[in-house]
Amino acid sequence: MTLEWEGEDIDRAAAHRAYEAHQRLVERTIGVPLTIANEFSEIRVSHVETRNGARLLIESPKSGQWIALDPLDLEALTWQTTQTFSAMIASPYEPMFPEPAQSPAE
């Protein structure tokens, strides 16, 4: 029997779901991904066509984090100022508005 922290199974299940979702997106990449980087970060951006529409897949190869934004998400970015990004950057590697925890059954 291996020891486990409480909640590790939930994290593992979430990681699997995220991996599968990511794979489905990557399989539908159109064209060549674009990499942009500066001395603080490197990011890969790809145009993904789902069955019914387009998303922009944004990946951080170093951390493995990713997000797929639809056109309205992206338009919402155009309404922002640097202040929004400062607030996001202020808490690295965690969302500004955490989603309620999901149980494995959900």
């Binding site: 500066n38 001395e39 640097t82 950057i89 202020a90 808490s91």
Partner: protein
């Protein structure tokens, strides 16, 4: 009882104790009294044209992030994280809206304000323990620009830059404002030479005398139209405000003919006529002088020359800016930029860049010639005998201090300051007299350190802290940020 003259008295007399070119004690005084107070050139706004563009520049041991923030303001942040002192930016140039320290991930907006500390709540108790309000990368104590040239000073009480430059701005315009569009820079190339920083600054300020000897080969291979390097002695050396330089005499002709003679195309000449004052135009058109090398005290130099860039007799001018950044008493880091009018024709820009590379920069022929001398001087200045030798820097001056040739009169020189035709070491003396003014006098102690985001001791609380009972409350005051240190550039568009 008479006291013997100090090295500073000797320098003021035009006789230079040779060891000033390689002396650790003197270098320490330069660091403490000169580079802590003077205005120092660190870059140009054309190097950071877009919001988020930054370059990292050194002032002796201090690294600064020179950046255009999201609002378009030019700033210089001390490149040291407020937390454990890691260098926040390690790339020499880049573009970023935020900087993130590699050590613990503290992050800053490009205007210097801190935005994030990982685990702020858990590790510091949030704002209660580390107040982010007002906490920012330390700004350079002073920052200002002239024609887009960015200068910083480590002295918060330094006089305004324009006042510091004084009448030298008249000449700075020839190099940095040939039209309303200003200049754009390429570079810098950076390299180190085993030479004292003052030698290059003096050389560019006024040494026309070395050209026939040191740079013979450059003339011999036909890089210039003038058949003899001695042509230099027909030019003048001028000193105005906080800088001085050398000029070439031009053949007889009108303003336009003379500007064409050095290789400027007509459209650039037209813009010069619209941009420069009547006096600036008269120095060329009436007096017949064209600016060449120059230095701004202490360690910025400029050069303007017009070699042949292709077979034939046509010449083409180039402009170069540089700084002599001291590493030690016997080593200097040279930053060398190519500069050109931003609205010059593309073909002119390319040929001008070629002209610069042929003459200056790490591949330049002049550069190789010069540095050989400077390294030798520096090495020789280190020994015991150099402490017994006063170098003669009195060229152009008789025993009683009167000039060998009278300065140019108002009808011969439309520029400010004092100009003498022919060989002389007036400018080297001016430069070193200013050096004495700074180095001889002890600068005031640097201001108290600034602590940001945490808790600062008042002097009375320091004693209590030493006794081990400083906590929070009345005895400690919160650190306050220094001024935010931004400048608006003079209408320079990104």
């Amino acid at each position: 009882m008479t006291t013997s003259p100090t090295i500073y008295d000797e320098v003021r007399n035009g006789m230079l104790p040779a060891h000033i070119y390689n002396d650790a004690e003197i270098f320490e005084r330069e660091r403490r009294n000169l580079f802590s107070r003077a205005w120092l050139f660190v870059g140009h706004v054309s190097e950071i044209p877009q919001p988020g563009d930054y370059v990292v520049r050194k002032v002796l041991d201090d690294s600064f992030i020179v950046v255009r923030d999201e609002k378009g303001e030019i700033r210089a942040h001390f490149n040291m994280c407020l937390h454990r002192g890691m260098q926040v930016c390690r790339a020499e140039m880049g573009n970023a809206s935020h900087f993130r320290c590699p050590y613990h991930g503290w992050s800053y907006r490009n205007d210097g304000r801190i935005v994030g500390l990982p685990f702020h709540q858990e590790a510091y108790g949030g704002e209660e323990g580390f107040s982010r309000k007002g906490a920012r990368l330390l700004p350079a104590p002073n920052l200002d620009t002239y024609n887009g040239l960015i200068f910083i000073s480590m002295d918060p009480d330094a006089p305004p830059l324009k006042e510091y430059l004084g009448d030298f701005t008249f000449f700075l315009d020839y190099y940095t404002k040939q039209s309303a569009a200003g200049i754009e820079l390429r570079g810098p190339q950076r390299w180190r030479v085993n030479a004292n920083w003052k030698i290059g600054a003096e050389n560019f300020a006024g040494d026309m005398y070395h050209t026939p000897q040191t740079h013979t080969s450059v003339v011999e291979i036909g890089l210039f139209r003038e058949p003899k390097a001695e042509k230099r002695k027909d030019g003048n050396t001028y000193w105005a405000g906080n800088g001085g330089g050398t000029t070439y005499k031009l053949p007889p002709g009108t303003l336009e003919e003379r500007l064409r003679y050095v290789g400027y195309p007509d459209d650039m000449i037209e813009r010069m006529k619209q941009t420069w004052s009547q006096e600036q135009l008269d120095v060329i058109g009436e007096n017949g002088f064209m600016i060449s090398a120059a230095s701004v005290f202490p360690n910025m130099s400029l050069v303007h020359n017009w070699p042949k860039v292709e077979d034939g007799d046509d010449v083409l001018p180039f402009i170069s800016l540089r700084t002599w950044v001291p590493i030690s008493e016997c080593e200097t880091e040279v930053y060398s930029w190519f500069a050109v009018a931003a609205d010059a024709p593309e073909e002119f820009k390319e040929l001008s860049y070629k002209a610069y590379l042929m003459c200056f920069g790490s591949t330049g022929m002049f550069e190789q010639d010069d540095v050989e001398n400077w390294v030798s001087l520096t090495n020789t200045a280190k020994g015991a005998m150099a402490r017994r030798l006063l170098l003669n820097s009195r060229m152009g001056m008789l025993k009683d201090g009167s000039p060998v040739v009278e300065p140019l009169g108002d009808d011969e020189w439309a520029g400010p300051g004092v100009a003498h035709v022919g060989y002389g070491e007036y400018n080297q003396r001016h430069l070193l007299e200013r050096w004495v003014d700074y180095v001889e006098a002890d600068a005031p102690e640097p201001q108290r350190p600034i602590g940001l985001g945490g808790v600062r001791l008042t002097p009375s609380a320091a004693a209590a802290a030493a006794a081990g009972d400083c906590a929070t409350g009345d005895s400690c005051d919160a650190g306050t940020a220094a001024g935010d240190g931004a400048v608006d550039t003079e209408g320079v568009t990104a």
